[in-house]
Amino acid sequence: MNKLDLVKNYIREKTNQIRKEGGAEELSKLSDFKPGDIVNVAVRVVEGDKERIQNFKGIVLYRRGEGPNETFCVRKVSNGVGVERIFPLYSPMIQSISVLQSSKVRRAKLYYLRGMSERKIRQKLRAQ
């Protein structure tokens, strides 16, 4: 194993440890989702000295990068405005990711969903 992979594994374990202390799910449980899935991301939000869990529910547009650099983008439409949030997968702030609905898509990056209405997206994902 080369040294960089070794460090990536080390960071993975370290992050897992931090996650464990924060009461978050393990990384191996997190990573089981793919573009096109509708997910609920539970994010730890620190406000002053208080902490709470904020949920972000939407459709996964893409996953990119590998190892500690991996990020994913979740899109939702809030009050008629499209909102996209990019999360680092390894971030200790992510408490859990739950897949609510899985759909079959033929692309790794679902940028084409941006221009579509919610109804059309629903139809599209069901059709596939």
Binding site: N2, K3, L4, V7, I11, I18, N69, P92, M93
Partner: protein, 208 residues
């Protein structure tokens, strides 16, 4: 006494703190560095410690160099460097390791040979703004250096005028880098931010 080591760049990745911050880190394979020679005022006129780094096949070492390594009783190393910050009470044959010298939170400086960029213009090499606009009939002044001096007096271009030329491939030092983590068993050092040079390039790491 200060601490210094030789190392090589392994690559870069991300690191997460317990507060959830993502930090860009450079992974450096630092040491183990055997002490090859200790310079003293009596013998050399100045105090320094010479350390080696890297594995070198004995076939690739010429006889005078081999004698130098044999005297210290160490295996031939790829690189040799002297450091004046190191403790001169060290003995030839002692081995310096990351785990003993550096710890999390230390401030260090790292020197290395920057990546060679070839012949570059002034915009890239000296951060000039360029001269012209792209409109009003101009088409070729966007990345130009502009004036390089006045006319009849002094009738020459001053020395050191910043112009186009070879860029990079020079010794570069970055100070105040922070040690994010140390993995002693693998001789690895994780440093916040980037360091000079390409992957596998030789680095000098000195504690501030």
């Amino acid at each position: 006494m200060g601490a210094a080591l030789l190392g090589k760049k392994v690559g870069m990745t991300s690191y997460f703190t317990d507060k959830g911050q993502q930090i860009p880190v450079t992974v450096i394979e630092a040491g183990p560095c055997p002490v090859v020679k200790v310079n003293t005022i009596e013998s050399d006129g100045y105090e320094a410690v010479q350390i080696g780094f890297g594995v070198r096949s004995p076939k690739r070492v010429n006889k005078p160099e081999m004698g130098h390594f044999k005297k210290a009783g160490v295996q031939p190393t790829m690189f040799l460097k002297e450091f004046r910050v190191l403790d001169t009470s060290l003995k030839p044959g002692d081995v310096l390791k990351v785990g003993d010298l550096f710890k999390k939170g230390d401030k260090i400086k790292i020197s290395g040979k920057s990546k060679g960029r070839g012949f570059q213009g002034v915009v890239k090499r000296h951060h000039f703004g360029g001269v012209g606009m792209t409109t009003h009939g101009q088409s070729d002044r966007v990345r130009a250096p502009g004036s390089i001096g006045s006319s009849s007096f002094p009738s020459r271009v001053f020395k050191g005028m910043r112009m186009a030329g070879r860029m990079g491939g020079k010794r570069t030092t970055i100070r105040n880098l922070e040690v994010v983590d140390v993995i002693p068993e693998e001789n690895l050092l994780l440093v916040k931010g980037s360091v000079p040079g390409h992957i596998n390039g030789l680095l000098e790491i000195v504690k501030l």
